[in-house]
């Protein structure tokens, strides 16, 4: 759905993005992470045609951005960092402006606007002038504006900035829905802990280059090695220790009271088989699973150039 090939963007003497290639499929929620100045915002702005690349190909929904800009961006929702609103319009008028800009027919606009106001919980503010909205409400209004054209591709630059905890929860829910609806979502954020909750893939950028990209678990595995698994046992600790020590996929077992931590180099199916084996052997299991990938750890390791 989003295809980027050999993208290069220069600002005078500075190469902001260098030979970047990227593929984002429908239903994928892709997190673009990197330190300030890594080229994340430049990449996002190039993807919607706001920045003219030095060279490279960008295809959105199969359309070449350089030759079919109007058609290509029609199904793209973009929310920049520090996004503004027209302060002399009401909330409804603001959304109507962009519903009309995205060629939604007049008869469908009231229904579409009402749906999106409900989505971001701003129905009560529909007639309020936008200048009177709080920062968080404005950010929610901008999320609604971004989603108004029912885009197949959603590009969000630091969308969680300025959002309160309620807004963040709302955003996470919306992002999950978008992924489930088969939309391609590209999100740039510094809040790595939150991104690991809804991103299916990540790309880590530094100094304009993509250092590592892929599915979150694959990237974590490449960077951190196999994720650690844990089993918390209520009864049958000795049996558990025996089963783990004899399992061919289990390495480096550590035991602490009723909890066992170990490296597991099998896939999810094999991990599930291990759980069945433990239960069948008579171990009473309280909790079982892999440790969640820590994107922050991944990011710091990649940033420290530990990726081979």
């Amino acid at each position: 759905m989003i295809q980027v090939r050999d993208l290069r963007v220069d600002y005078d003497d500075v190469c902001a993005v260098r030979d970047l290639s990227l593929d984002i499929s429908p239903g994928e929620v892709y997190g673009l992470v990197g330190p300030n100045g890594a080229g994340k915002t430049t990449t996002l702005r190039s993807l919607v045609g706001l920045l003219e690349p030095t060279y490279g190909e960008i295809h959105l929904n199969g359309l070449d951005l350089s030759t079919h800009h109007g058609e290509a961006v029609q199904h793209v929702g973009f929310m920049p960092d520090f996004a503004p609103v027209y302060e002399d319009l009401t909330v409804w008028e603001f959304l109507d402006l962009f519903a009309a800009s995205y060629l939604i027919p007049p008869e469908r606009r009231p229904e579409t606007i009402a749906k999106h106001l409900e989505l971001v919980d701003l129905t009560e503010k529909r007639d309020a002038i936008t200048s009177g909205l709080s920062r968080g409400m404005r950010q929610r209004l901008l999320i609604a504006k971004t989603l108004i054209p029912e885009p197949q591709i959603v590009l969000l630059d630091e969308p969680a900035a300025w959002l309160d905890p309620y807004g963040r929860a709302l955003l996470k829910d919306i992002l999950r829905q978008l992924g489930a609806q088969g939309k391609a979502v590209l999100i740039s954020s510094h809040v790595l802990a939150e991104m690991s909750e809804f991103c299916t893939s990540i790309g880590i950028m530094e100094k304009g280059r993509m250092l590592v990209t892929g599915r979150v678990d694959e990237v974590a595995a490449r960077v951190l090695g196999q994720a650690e698994a844990r089993v918390e046992v209520v009864a049958g600790e000795e049996i558990c220790a025996q089963v783990l020590s004899t399992h061919p996929r289990v390495r480096s077992v550590r035991r602490e009271k009723g909890t066992f931590a170990f490296s597991f180099d099998g896939d999810q199916g094999e991990l599930s088989d291990l759980l069945t084996a433990l239960v069948t052997a008579g171990v009473r299991v309280a909790s079982f699973g892999r440790k969640k990938e820590d994107l922050e750890e991944v990011f710091l390791k990649v940033g420290a150039k530990e990726v081979s």
Binding site: D6, R8, D10, Y11, D12, D13, C15, V48, G49, L50, L51, E52, P53, T54, Y55, S66, T67, H69, G70, E71, V73, Q74, V76, F78, P80, F82, A83, P84, V85, Y86, D88, L89, E93, L97, F98, A100, S101, Y102, L103, P106, K145
Partner: protein
């Protein structure tokens, strides 16, 4: 065509206006009753006062003029400032980016701002119309004359709004855009004695329709020496300039980093400017014999400098273009590409300048007492000056990058300003015409042009003219060499990054 050349978007006029979202946005935000009604009350009250003075006294003509001043203030100053503020604010805050990435054509967005931002001022203007008509009829002017002037008021206001649009899109701060727009409006009115500039104001139409033909003030009454209705002459000037500004505005609306004009657009503009100045020359001749030729030469020099600056790529843009060309396997950028060096444009400007200046002498033969003017020589000096500026700007931009402007200013001061200042000082010390001062003045193209256009056939003037030709040509040649080297070096460096 390079892949990233900007496209402005297209659509029928109806499609661009009906349901235009940006226009609707302005209708909503600018026409809220609580903002409009107090202003309507003020304007109606002022109109009633002026109408009362006009109807009850013998000074009908003055009252008509006062009403046009009121209308001009509303449309030209407040209306144009509204456009500059609206576009400038949208650009500063980043709202324009939302419009740029929407499927709306850039022309539609530009028209939305152009027609929408001053909509409150048009309502106020409409409120004055009944009073304006009443006053015109009371002063025994025809309704047709009133209609022509009113129509031109609207056209001129759109012209100023288009200037505001372009400045709002091009300048980094909205306050600068508003200030420069107002300055441009004032400057147009200050330069009204020259027909080409005068026709960018309401004055030729207003004076022509209400003042009658005044032999000493033939503004807007002739083109190429033929009499023409003032409104027609004004529109022949206003419409091309408006179209140019709209095209440039739409390009900037489409992309923040786009040049306002393509190189070919710039050459087209220069050609139109040369034709208008040439056509207007006889009107100037009638007033004071040589003013048309002077206006043509200095006008083309100023416009040439402005347009070449607009289309000259900086070091970053040039390097970008070179890398892009290499990526797709081209050895060099196309001659007319946005990121290509400005050679072709500068050369075209020089040819147009030389031909136009020679033509002014051929088409309108010199008359009696101002014999001795040398328009063809002025053409050479002017063409060389335009080439010098364009190539120096290109060379310095590539060599000194972002710091090029101070160096370029220094160069212009040394080559253009210093001989002028020193020559004038020597002239003032000698207390009149002096061969030495003429020789010094001839070193600067600014005064070199004047020496070519001066009356007289004395030996010292002939020497000064030769010096002017040699000096301007030498400067142009030096910068052909300098610019060629700078381009070669920049091309090599672009491949190394």
């Amino acid at each position: 065509m390079m892949p990233a050349q900007t496209a402005v978007g297209q659509g029928s006029i109806r499609g661009l206006l009906v349901g235009n979202p940006v226009l609707v946005k302005h209708l909503r935000s600018r026409l809220r009753p609580q903002h409009v009604l107090p202003l309507v009350a003020v304007v109606v009250a002022l109109s009633i006062c002026i109408a009362w003075v006009g109807v009850t006294s013998d000074e009908n003509g003055s009252a008509v003029a006062m009403m046009f001043v009121l209308q001009g203030l509303i449309l030209f100053l407040v209306g144009a400032a509204a456009v500059a503020t609206s576009v400038g604010t949208a650009r500063e805050t980043g709202m324009l980016d939302f419009h740029r990435i929407s499927p709306q054509p850039a022309t539609a967005v530009a028209l939305g701002f152009l027609l929408g931002a001053p909509v409150r001022e048009y309502i106020l203007f409409a409120c004055t119309l009944p009073f304006s008509l009443l006053l015109a009829l009371a002063a025994r002017y025809s309704a047709l004359a009133w209609l022509a002037v009113t129509f031109d008021l609207v056209v001129v206001s759109q012209l100023y709004c288009a200037i505001a649009l372009l400045l709002g899109l091009a300048l980094p701060k909205r306050a600068s855009a508003t200030t420069l727009t107002l300055l441009a409006v004032v400057l147009f009115h200050m330069g009204w004695m020259t027909q080409t500039v005068g026709c960018l104001t309401i004055l030729p139409t207003a004076l022509g329709m209400f003042g009658g033909h005044t032999p000493s003030l033939p503004l807007g009454t002739a083109m190429l020496g033929f009499a023409a209705p003032p409104l027609l002459v004004s529109l022949l000037h206003q419409v091309p300039v408006f179209v140019l500004l709209l095209v440039a505005g739409a390009r900037k609306m489409h992309h923040e980093s786009a040049y306002p004009l393509t190189k070919l657009d710039a050459v087209g503009c220069y050609l139109v400017a040369a034709l208008l100045l040439l056509a207007d020359a006889p009107a100037g001749f009638e007033m004071t014999p040589d003013v048309g030729a002077w206006a043509l030469c200095y006008g083309l020099l100023f416009i040439g400098v402005l347009l070449s600056a607009l289309v000259t790529p900086g070091a970053g843009a040039f390097a970008k273009g070179v890398r892009r060309a290499r990526k797709i396997g081209w050895p060099n950028l196309g001659l007319w590409d946005d990121q290509a060096p400005n050679w072709a444009v500068v050369l075209a400007f020089a040819v147009i300048f030389a031909v136009a200046a020679a033509a002014v002498g051929t088409l309108f033969p010199q008359r009696g007492w101002w014999h001795g003017m040398h328009p063809a020589g002025a053409g050479v000096v002017g063409a060389a000056a335009v080439m010098f500026f364009g190539l120096a700007n290109q060379a310095f931009g590539l060599t000194f990058r972002r710091n090029s402007n101070p160096y370029l200013m220094l160069l212009l001061f040394i080559c253009w300003g210093l001989p002028l200042v020193v020559g004038l000082l020597v002239l003032s010390i000698s207390g009149g015409e002096d061969a030495t001062s003429n020789l010094i003045l001839a070193l600067s193209p600014l005064s070199g042009l004047a020496i070519m256009l001066m009356n007289g056939t004395t030996a010292s003037l002939a020497t000064a003219r030769t010096v002017a030709l040699v000096a301007s040509s030498a400067l142009a040649f030096a910068f052909i060499v300098f610019a060629t080297r700078a381009v070669t070096r920049a091309r090599r460096e672009a491949g190394e990054v």
